[in-house]
């Protein structure tokens, strides 16, 4: 504004700052993104040249019962895990927000699983907990419930990997807690004077006011859960009867065990389209249920 007529870099110094990122974007994001789209129409592995096969890979996927099953299991997994996780997160955050002594202590306890949950160590631990002779069955036994072969039963194993994620509700909880702090106290006071109980206050005041945060948590968690890999890979190895073979695991197997790079890319692209569809639907649905106090909100 002050000085005019400078060199290109003088005028666009900001571009120099974002240049490394731009190079990374092109090399490690944009190029792979387009390449995987192209691979998905080829029969391709590391030992032979790619041959164009048109829609063959996609036809194969839709006709293969096991691949379709992986998609169905992934849906079930995401739509079971995310609502459960968010319900726990919001409920506990709501209780913690209400002048609880030892807030920091409880917050730490609930947050620790989120910090460690993604690690292999915890996956190993879960395998131990749910063995037939493991801790969970010992405890159930003390209550008189007979031992159950969690990891040997398709539904049991599925439940175990769902629980592993729900257990990590601490990180959305911390986000909810911060959002709840922003809800003004006088709203509750006014509602209490009008005779609204705690439960009613929660449903009529708290939930509507933090719908933007619920929305944010929902979309990000859904994206992650559609790509779940560690739990199924380490704890249940995709079994039994492929009940925990989620799509990411399938992509991994196709690409890095069977060396079917084209096939793997096609499956990954289908998953990408699924995720995009749900994200888009979520964004469109915003105007029906997400409340933004100011126009500044997204």
């Amino acid at each position: 504004m002050k000085k005019k007529k400078k060199g290109f870099w003088k005028r666009n110094i900001g571009l120099a700052f974002v240049m490394p990122w731009l190079v990374g974007l092109l090399a490690f994001k944009l190029y792979p993104f387009i390449a995987s789209f192209i691979y998905s129409f080829h029969s391709y592995n590391l030992f032979k040249t790619a041959s164009f096969t048109g829609l063959e890979n996609y036809k194969y996927i839709l006709g293969d019962k096991l691949i379709v099953k992986a998609f169905i299991q992934t849906f079930k997994y995401a739509f079971l895990t995310v609502p459960l996780e968010l319900m726990f997160a919001l409920f506990i955050a709501y209780i913690l927000n209400d002048k609880i002594k030892g807030l920091n202590f409880f917050r730490t306890i609930y947050y620790i699983p989120s910090i460690l949950g993604g690690s292999v160590s915890i996956a190993v631990l879960w395998k131990f907990l749910f063995k037939t002779e493991g801790l969970v069955n010992i405890m159930l036994g003390a209550l008189g419930i007979p031992a159950f072969n969690w990891l040997g039963n398709p539904d049991g194993a599925f439940f175990v990997i769902v629980l592993l994620r729900v257990w990590q509700f601490g990180s959305p909880m911390v986000i909810f807690l911060a959002a709840l702090k922003g809800v003004q106290g006088d709203l509750y006071e006014a509602a209490a004077i009008d005779g609204a109980g705690k439960w009613k206050q929660f449903l009529r005041i708290t939930v509507p006011l933090i719908t933007p945060v619920i929305f944010y948590n929902f979309v990000t968690q859904l994206c992650h859960k559609f790509q779940e890999f560690n739990g199924p890979f380490i704890v249940t190895q995709g079994g039994p009867l492929r009940s925990t073979t989620l799509v990411s695991l399938l992509v991994y197997n196709e690409a890095f065990k069977r060396n079917e790079m084209g096939q793997a890319s096609a499956i990954a692209w289908l998953l990408f389209l699924v995720i995009m569809t749900f994200t888009a639907v979520a964004f469109i649905s915003q105007k029906y249920w997400v409340y933004y106090a100011d126009e500044d909100g997204r």
Partner: protein
């Protein structure tokens, strides 16, 4: 029951729930600590935490390692890529966010839209071509595929988080610095970085946790046992376990998460602030 009694009962129930659920959440971890000191026969017979016949066998055997490489070797491998990754992530995220938050330049809107869309780009679509790319440039079986993308601002989440923070910082100080003759780089270093410090710490901490937990990256790119990070080593030990050396596996798993736990306890507040700010704003 009058109102006061009702309120007290309510409060009591809330604490009961918080404590009860807290115990359920944390018990598996406590059990793990105790179990690593148990004998293998006791491991699957009692639900208690305190071992009846404490033994260090699990740890002793854990440190024997594999073909002359002990657990510390593999933990060392993990931090050989985690630490550079954290440092480079922070540097590249600060530089990129400074560019986006403080300057106008050609194509900025387009680039910013690209930045936002990569926030939602699932890694699963990128894995195959990235692998083929890294194979062609000869980076497989090294830590380069894990570190280099971070050096080039590949962790968009952190870039975005810092942009959000920078937008909240008033520009007056920089303008004053400019009048005093500071150039753009000096303004970044002497004005922006000190103010961004809390957010930078949050970024570093999260990247430390995520990179240490990362499993799929090393699984795909590293193929010699000597270079395995501890995550892959643990998984390998679990698979090749022929006898019933359970306490050894638990002891090693526990040791592997101690650095993460230590960092978490030292910097708890930064974590909570970081996640809350990042989440609410973005």
């Amino acid at each position: 029951m009058n109102r006061k009694e009702k309120a007290r009962l309510n409060l009591f129930l809330r604490y009961l729930l918080l404590i009860g659920l807290g115990i359920v959440m944390i018990y598996p971890l406590c059990w793990m600590i105790g179990a690593s000191f148990k004998t293998n026969s006791e491991l699957f017979s009692s639900a208690g935490i305190i071992p009846m016949a404490p033994t260090l066998d699990g740890y002793r055997n854990g440190f024997k390692g594999y073909e002359g490489m002990n657990l510390l070797h593999f933990m060392g491998n993990t931090y050989k890529f985690v630490l550079p990754k954290v440092v480079f992530t922070v540097i590249s995220a600060v530089i990129t966010s400074y560019g986006f938050a403080r300057f106008r330049f050609v194509g900025k809107n387009l680039l910013f839209a690209l930045l936002l869309s990569t926030l939602f780009l699932p890694q699963v679509v990128l894995n195959v071509p990235q692998y083929i790319l890294f194979n062609e440039v000869g980076w497989l079986n090294s830590y380069l595929p894990i570190v280099i993308p971070s050096m080039l601002g590949g962790d968009t989440f952190f870039v975005y988080m810092l942009i959000q923070f920078l937008r909240g910082i008033p520009k007056e100080l920089e303008e004053a610095a400019e009048i005093d003759g500071c150039n753009v780089v000096e303004r970044l270093w002497y004005v922006i970085v000190p103010m961004l410090k809390p957010s930078i710490v949050s970024c570093a901490l999260f990247q430390f946790m995520w990179a240490s937990n990362d499993f799929m990256g090393p699984l795909i790119y590293i193929n010699s046992v000597r270079k395995y990070p501890v995550s892959i080593f643990l998984r390998m030990s679990m698979d090749t376990e022929t006898g019933f050396d359970w306490n050894r596996i638990l002891a090693m798993s526990l040791l592997a998460i101690i650095p993460s736990l230590a960092v978490f306890f030292m910097a708890q507040d930064s974590f909570v602030d970081g996640i809350a700010a990042g989440g609410v704003k973005g």
